[in-house]
Amino acid sequence: MDIKDIIKPENKVYAKTPILTDAVMHYCPGCTHGVVHKLIAEVIEEMGIQDKAIGISPVGCAVLAYNYIDIDWEQSAHGRAPALATATKRLNPDKYVFTYQGDGDLASIGTAEVMHACNRGENIVIIFINNAIYGMTGGQMAPTTLLGQVTATTPYGRDAKLNGYPMKITELLAQLEGTCYVTRQSAHNPAAVRKAKKAIRKAFENSMMEKGTSFVEIVGTCNSGWKLTPVKANKWMEENMFPFYPLGDMKDR
């Protein structure tokens, strides 16, 4: 069979969702942000909520997320996305409000905001991309950096005596009464991507049921910051990140 006979509109089984704009993403080749943007756009398309979704973009690599997903966006000060999302959701209870934050934004400068938003049980979705490094500023140590991991500011590896221990923010948030769904996913292979999409969809659905905050962590790669190729970064993540950040649901009610 000739390829021309296969490539016909009626045989199409997968294409870029129209919710993603045609802009070329500024992310490095192989960056997990691209995959997660795509998943959020696909969930928004499947649920038919393009005119009802409001995203809050963080400070970090994903600050320009508003260029790529064709919905309403706000852009918050560093770490303050949950505070902005709280106000947006309280003023527009019929909208699907979500924040999209990295680990430098959420787990460091924004820890207080995310803790209290979750403790208040705001009906929002928080998408947390954890790649254990500050990607945009050049690969410095983040609170989530693993012990022994080499970064620009820990050239001999993270040392617990000097730099403290890596922070499992998702486990902390699962303890709070205000959260209804807390999960950790990944996006390194097709099965993980499909599971992550289901988790994001569930979180969006929860946000309309007045159950509390839904928190989806996605363990991702920063191949530029880690100084690895995209494929090797995925392997490194499986070997080093997953033992410390185990995947799965921590809370679902």
Binding site: I6, V13, P29, G30, V231
Partner: protein, 73 residues
């Protein structure tokens, strides 16, 4: 019943990260020797006969540049 598939890569937007190459179960995809306007070796079907249209490559593609077609013959 046999299933045949094919992919179309938006070569201008592909960044050649090769995550699709690593996740292709049938070794259909490879990076081309040519480069696109940004200097990236974009992905293409090296062994088009192998493709089953499983959509794994498109699922993991960070830049959403792969469109997948599948047909039963």
């Amino acid at each position: 019943m046999a299933i045949k598939g094919a992919i179309v890569v938006d070569t201008a937007k592909c960044k050649g990260c090769s995550v699709c190459v690593a996740n292709c179960p049938t070794q259909t995809i490879a990076l081309s020797k040519e480069v696109n306007g940004k200097g990236y070796n974009f992905a293409y079907m090296e062994n088009p006969d192998n493709c089953t249209g499983c959509t794994n490559c498109a699922t993991v593609c960070p830049d959403a540049v792969i469109t997948v077609y599948r047909v039963k013959i």
